[in-house]
Symmetry: C2
Subunit: 215 residues, 2 copies
């Protein structure tokens, strides 16, 4: 059955691979599954047709035969459960990898997204500069803990898994900030993820969408 995902018609990250379709593209590349992409405009994302697939008016979505999913974490886990390569076979190791998937999206990502949201919605407010230490402090708390845990391991828990895929995409949102430079352990971890051939294929595919719209 053909797998179809949705992505931004015009990604606000200008092809830097920070939109959440990147996670799904990367997962599909890791397991060697071909997929088609339907591009969605910001206007179309808020219309009933797309909201029926994605109740919060976002991308990506995932369609495969009768199945329709939304939410990048749920989609990546679905892919990982149905194809070898993204979750350990040992039951306990598998449960730990899934727990790290939730940690990436529920514990590490929210303070990172919050800083972005403040930039978009409040950068012209009088308090924006004064709030930066608060916003960065919350992110640093998480990165300190994550860096301590990772130590000199290559991946979060044994072999590369869907948890690393999500965590790397979460941490990449800090690229260009003055925060990541203080975490060489995490920078090296991100680089290991980016060096994977499947990552590169996924990155190139999303960049090609952006490049095509610039012609």
């Amino acid at each position: 059955m053909t797998i179809t995902i949705t992505a931004f018609e015009s990604s606000p990250d200008r092809g830097r691979g920070l939109a959440r379709d990147m996670r799904v593209r990367w997962a599909l590349e890791e397991v060697g599954q071909p997929y088609e992409v339907r591009l969605v405009s910001f206007k179309a994302m808020k219309q009933p047709t797309h909201l029926a697939l994605q109740p919060f008016g976002q991308i990506p979505t995932y369609e495969e035969g009768d199945l329709a999913l939304f939410e990048s974490g749920g989609i990546v886990l679905h892919i990982a459960e149905h194809h070898p390569g993204l979750l350990p076979e040992d039951a306990n190791a598998r449960a730990r990898a899934i727990t790290w998937m939730f940690a990436a999206l529920s514990t590490v990502e929210p303070p990172i997204v919050e800083r972005e949201a403040a930039h978009y919605a409040e950068r012209d407010e009088a308090w924006h500069e004064a709030r930066q230490p608060i916003l960065k402090g919350r992110i640093r708390d998480r990165l300190d803990q994550l860096s301590d845990r990772l130590g000199d391991a290559d991946w979060l828990d044994g072999a590369f898994s869907a948890a690393d895929l999500l965590m790397v995409t979460v941490l990449r949102r800090l690229e260009g900030s003055d925060i990541l430079g203080d975490y060489p352990t995490l920078s090296a971890y991100i680089a290991r993820g980016q060096a994977r051939p499947a990552y590169k294929r996924a990155f190139d595919a999303q960049l090609a969408v952006f490049t095509a719209t610039q012609k």
Copy 2:
């Protein structure tokens, strides 16, 4: 094998069932699994023994024989995968329920937690009052979409599942705010969750911890 979870020795919510051990207790009650609770102080949560179990210094954790998990979403999914009652048997419906689990924790919960975090960290700042419309607006955007999707259904997607369990606990964090009153659909949804016998047993168990510490 004995299941042992951790919970706050002294819960900041004063037994209102808003701490994240409530999710795990409720899930275990739904599937009829007994469990033991180890209470952890705020100081002990930041010590190496607990950080080995929970890298971010939080509760709950879950131990069962050789398996140790953290992150309430990962724990609830583990319970749901190993005992009937919290996920549909149909493969597609099961994948959709898991996607809604991620939606509860990654899309709906973050703006709710952000408002709480602003209350704790910034309530004495000059800008706190001026930021309220921004904080509430983000929450309302999500609640509008969730309420539209739920419509007159009892649960998010067919029968009650682990997704509803998580979503109800996420929405309950708004209790006492002036927001939830505008969403009768979601208030009724929360009430359906709270009416479940397993919810009540879990709630009473966590309240008993708080009551015991007040003697």
